[in-house]
């Protein structure tokens, strides 16, 4: 029984059904999130601002060192040093859902890739998987293995980039010095426990080399992004927008030479992963020891969601009916964690619990007013909400910003009506506790941790152990991302070995021929992941063309606004719980570093195509800030 709020129960065979006697099962009052935190009302905040001089607005616009356009509004009590209101604002519209309608579904692989200039390939594959499911096309084993390796390589680009280019500077001497000088003084004499792995004698030295632009760790991360990118290009042809992803596999030609060239690059991440884990262990423990209040920076309930990734070629059959089974055979287990407890690993339960709300978003409601719900059930008869992506229609309605009403281009996705967060760490957490990991020599799921046996390089062989954390906060997000680099490299290694075995047997087929049916209606969903976590594309085809296309990205979850129940989105909740530990009492000198650490720990990635609207809300032209300008106007 994984649903606590939605009136969904399971029969003896585990088949979900709507509880009898609930007149409007998906109505706002039929299923309210219980025990969730709530934002203060805008009226209450206005009143506090009027009556107290020490309570002030503090806006971060834009939030820098994130991908894409994010702004953040807070109201801060400088006397109590806490945040009273937090509002996450996606300032640009991602119009891919509108762009895709009426197109040949194969276009989606190339068009939706442009949603992100960091990890476009993940969208390509998710799209290909949605099409595969809709048309019934299963990739051959080598195609699945290469797809897994490609995804791992994208993460090996993404994680170092985030850790040492985007989030890392928040912990650098250049940032800690001005905001917390006493902490930097302490760091300079604090020995680094893992010096033999990362090479920094003190935490202060480590902080110096996290300095942006000049620090060795910053520059090394730039170099490692190149290594991962080169490896990716060897098997996918192009980065970040591959041309080799097709429904039914990959169009690349994979040879032993390609595999060996790729391995030379992959192997560099074994040592680098050891170093990353050691660095983020040392940084995290230093901050906790210096001031235990840092454990509250970015803290929120451990509510995590992930679809799982990296398929088992023996299990993946591209069907929705089989998703519950093939999902659990993935190298990263799908799952939903609520308040730190794993409640399901079943992709069907995960999928039917998803809803998207737009009360505070610049969109019109698509349900209600007597409109028929397009799909009352999923393809195997499980109940679906009218707010589910397969039922959602994107209806942009730009308007003025108003905290009481609408203030963001992001929607509010919820699972079982709860605010969930996505990230690399959800992957680790689910896999660690579910104990469904395939047998392999390198990674072990213990039920409370993941053991990672990283091969010898310049550094000796090393076993890392990521343990499910007791607190969930900004530091643990970054630490988990560092460990996830090793986890990812080892998954790539497992898949590389399996692919080499296939090649040795003469099995070089990477794709399955397919045709797009020109009759009838089909549905599919790609359950996949970005470096930042959860990624789904829900697709409906009608007579060979896209009738509906809905993308749900990790940052849609994480940057989501407050919902109709006043439940804040993950960034908002994390910032509301963040104490202001910066060493200044002068609001004019205040940099908001703790708030920024909280936000950046999620690795925000705001999909980056902007569409400019006329007053009537019709898209008239666009500004592309992503890597390629292939989008059509709607």
């Amino acid at each position: 029984m994984c649903f606590k709020n939605l009136p969904i129960e399971f029969d003896a065979q585990g088949k979900p059904f709507l509880r009898a006697g609930v007149a409007n099962p998906y109505g706002p009052s039929s299923a309210m999130p219980r025990g969730a935190p709530a934002q203060l009302t805008p009226d209450r905040i206005e009143d506090l601002l009027k009556r107290n001089g020490f309570i002030k607005d503090l806006d971060f616009d834009p939030v820098t060192r994130v991908a894409g356009a994010l702004a953040f509004h807070t109201v801060v009590d400088f006397r109590a040093r806490k945040v009273l209101e937090a509002r996450s604002v996606a300032t640009l519209f991602r119009g891919y859902e509108v762009i895709m309608v009426g197109r040949d579904p194969r276009d989606a692989i190339f068009i939706t890739s442009r949603a992100c200039g960091v990890c476009g390939g993940v969208h390509s594959v998710t799209s290909a998987m949605a099409i595969e499911m809709a048309i019934g096309c299963v990739p051959p084993p080598l195609g699945i293995l290469i797809r897994n390796i490609a995804l791992a390589l994208e993460f090996l680009y993404d994680h170092p980039l985030h850790l040492h280019l985007l989030a890392g500077p928040d912990y650098s001497a250049a940032m800690v010095g001005p905001t917390n000088p006493s902490l930097l003084d302490r760091a300079r004499s604090a020995p680094a426990p893992h010096a033999e792995i990362h090479g920094f004698r003190t935490i202060g030295e480590l902080m110096e080399d996290l300095n942006p632009l000049s620090g060795k760790l910053y520059l090394e991360a730039l170099h490692m992004t190149r290594v991962a990118r080169e490896a990716y290009v060897l098997i996918c042809g192009k980065y970040p927008h591959p041309q080799t992803i097709v429904p039914g596999g990959m169009s690349s030609t994979i040879t032993l030479t390609v595999m060996n060239e790729m391995f030379i690059r992959l192997a560099q991440f074994f040592d680098y992963s050891k170093k990353l884990a050691a660095i983020w262990d040392d940084l995290t423990e230093f901050f906790y020891e210096a001031n235990p209040a840092y454990q509250q920076v970015g803290a929120r309930r451990a509510n995590l969601i992930d679809t799982g990734i990296f398929d088992d070629p023996q299990a993946y059959d591209a069907t929705y009916a089989g998703a519950a089974a093939w999902g659990e055979r993935r190298w990263a287990t799908p799952g939903v964690i609520v308040d730190g407890q794993l409640v399901t690993t079943d992709l069907h339960a995960l999928n039917i619990g998803v809803e998207e709300f737009v009360e505070h978003s610049y969109y019109e409601e698509w349900s209600g007013n007597g409109q028929r719900q397009r799909f009352p059930t999923d393809p195997v008869g499980n109940p679906l909400s009218p707010y589910h992506p397969w039922n959602k229609v994107t209806k942009p309605r730009p308007q003025g910003q108003n905290w009481k009403e609408k203030y963001t281009w992001d929607t509010a996705p919820r699972w079982d009506r709860q605010s969930m967060e996505a990230g690399a760490y959800a992957r680790l957490w689910n896999t660690a506790v579910a104990r469904k990991l395939p047998q392999n020599p390198f990674i072990e799921s213990t039920g409370t941790s993941l053991k990672l046996r990283l091969p010898k390089g310049a550094l000796p062989e090393l076993e890392l152990e990521w343990k499910v954390p007791a607190v969930w906060n900004a530091f643990e997000r970054n630490r988990a991302r560092a460990y996830c680099t090793g986890f990812t490299a080892l998954i790539a290694l497992n898949n590389w070995l399996a692919a080499m075995e296939r090649l040795k047997q003469g099995d070089t087929r990477t794709s399955t021929p397919f045709e797009i049916p020109q009759r009838g209606e089909q549905r599919g969903v790609g359950f996949w992941g970005a470096g930042r976590g959860y990624l789904t594309h829900h697709l409906t085809l009608d007579r060979g063309a896209v009738a509906n296309y809905q993308i749900l990205t990790p940052s849609t979850w994480n940057a989501s606004p407050t919902d109709r129940w006043r439940q804040p989105g993950p960034y908002e909740e994390a910032v509301l719980n963040t104490p202001l530990l910066e060493e200044t009492n002068d609001p004019e000198k205040f940099k908001g570093i703790d708030v920024l650490r909280a936000i950046r720990s999620f690795d925000p990635c705001m999909p980056c195509t902007t569409h400019i609207h006329s007053d009537a809300g019709v898209i008239t032209r666009e500004v592309n800030t992503c890597a390629c300008g292939i989008d059509d106007e709607a």
């Binding site: 200039g117 960091v118 632009l213 890597a627 390629c628």
Partner: protein, 187 residues
């Protein structure tokens, strides 16, 4: 003396594709062995790494970089050419440029700032900017930009092959002569 001629921009984004189109057209020409033409419309960090890959002693000594840049204050189709003075913005701005570079933004200014900061650009950089008129999906240029594309190609050829011609250009900050009308311009 080795010269790289580089186009920077987006494909299929009408006037903002001018850098890419110029590079494509010039690739078809016959060049002396010391001139390399490339489309550098990708992550500027990767562009820098590509330039650094040239072996010692064969690093490029001059770059001629062309692309559309919306500066405002210029008519659509206006062409501005100058030798970049190489002055970088503040560290904060460079950090922003790096963030944009690694997260997928392709822009002429960004490419120059990032590659200069990391020491990948040659000292001698000639910039040719075209003021775009429209920014939307499509393969065709607006009329004012279409009118100058051939002229831009010829200008690039001259500045890539005639050191004296490029030396005659004024040195200017990014944006060239927008606020100080000293650089060569046409259109």
């Amino acid at each position: 003396m080795r010269v790289i001629v580089a186009g920077v921009g987006y494909r299929n984004l009408r006037d903002h594709s001018v850098g890419v189109t110029v590079a494509d057209r010039l690739l078809d020409r016959r060049w002396a062995s010391d001139v390399v033409v490339e489309d550098l419309s990708y992550n500027p960090i990767a562009v820098g790494q590509r330039l650094e890959d040239e072996p010692a002693g064969r690093r490029f000594t001059r770059a001629v970089v062309v692309g559309a840049v919306e500066r405002g204050g210029r008519a659509p189709g206006a062409v501005t050419a100058y030798r970049w003075d190489g002055v970088l913005p503040s560290d904060e701005e460079i950090q922003r440029a790096v963030t944009e570079a690694v997260t997928g933004v392709i822009a002429l200014d960004n490419t120059l700032v990032v590659t200069r900061h990391f020491g990948a650009l040659p000292d001698d950089v000639v910039v040719i900017e075209v003021e775009p008129g429209v920014q939307e999906f499509g393969e065709s240029f607006s009329e004012p930009v279409a009118r100058v594309v051939d002229q831009v190609c010829e200008l690039v050829v001259r500045l890539a092959t005639d050191a004296e011609a490029s030396a005659r250009l004024p040195r200017a900050a990014l944006g060239g002569m927008v606020s100080a009308p000293r650089a060569w311009s046409a259109g």
